[in-house]
């Protein structure tokens, strides 16, 4: 139990520090590397919650896929000029005020409603013995959620074609 607590705080610090670094760095490469830290922290949180399949997906897809995409684009697009200019836009004060209002709102709801989310403290009947997390996800994905799964594949196809069309010089 103590190990869980310590690990949670380590991953939480990774997530939050990585996130804050991502939105404050001037150099986009530094932002991308901070984003990797943050996403690795999220992957660790998945592991703490016994979502092993999503842990692997997070590492492979985000850290291996999306981040490489970001780094490619950062190097393809000339960002030197943008790095020398103002990093924050003119409405930043209004934006911070709006976010502060939302933060107070969420904090208030969590303070008032947090007591009602105590289901996790009683141990629930988990997976039957011998059935792994990946197997359970596969059962659910190819049974109950087959139609959304297929729609997601169409979405990915559209995204692939769309991004090629967007990035192409002349169609």
């Amino acid at each position: 139990m103590l190990t869980d607590t310590i690990l949670f705080y380590i991953f939480a610090v990774m997530v939050l520090v990585g996130g804050i670094m991502t939105i404050t760095r001037r150099n986009a490469i530094h932002s991308a590397l901070s984003l990797i830290t943050s996403l690795l922290g999220v992957a660790g949180l998945y592991l703490l919650q016994q979502a092993e399949f999503l842990f692997a997906v997070q590492i492979v897809l985000y850290v291996g896929g999306i981040m490489v995409l970001f780094l490619f684009v950062i190097m393809l697009v000339n960002l030197d000029q943008a790095a020398k200019q103002r990093q924050f836009n003119r409405q930043w004060l209004v934006a911070l005020a709006a976010v502060a209002v939302v933060a107070v709102e969420i904090g208030y709801f969590m303070y008032r409603g947090g007591a009602s989310i105590h289901i996790a403290d009683v141990p629930l009947p988990g997976a039957p013995a011998g059935v792994g997390n990946t197997e359970m996800i596969a059962d659910s994905l190819f049974g109950e959620y087959l139609l959304p799964f297929e729609v997601a594949s169409i979405l990915l196809l559209v995204a692939v074609v769309g991004s090629v069309v967007m990035a192409k010089k002349r169609i």
């Binding site: 939105i23 919650q49 969590m110 289901i119 009947p125 967007m166």
Partner: protein, 101 residues
């Protein structure tokens, strides 16, 4: 002190707010797209936490769909960014004001 679901929800809310600040205040489009990834990850933390609470995998299924959306969004967004940079020579969001009067 044991970690409860509320801890995860608070962490997720904090990450969501950090991502929102990034989207609203940064000028560089690449970093705005990264902030959107942060927001989607905050949603995923929530989904996984509740999946753990209820003891079934439905939350994890939806987290997979969120990840699929994030991938599609990143690919199309970065494609748009490349096309934009080719035409306007800028990656700053507030310099792209063609539709503004």
């Amino acid at each position: 002190m044991p970690i409860t679901t509320v801890h995860y929800l608070a962490l997720s809310a904090a990450l969501l707010l950090i991502g929102t600040i990034g989207v609203l205040t940064r000028r560089n489009i690449v970093i705005i797209l990264m902030s959107i990834e942060l927001i989607l990850n905050a949603v995923n933390i929530n989904l996984i936490a509740f999946s753990h609470v209820w003891g079934n995998v439905r939350g994890q299924i939806f987290a997979i769909f969120v990840i699929v959306d994030a991938v599609a969004e990143a690919a199309v967004g970065l494609g748009i960014l490349i096309a934009l940079f080719r035409n306007k020579e800028t990656v700053l969001a507030d310099e792209i004001d063609l539709l503004k009067w």
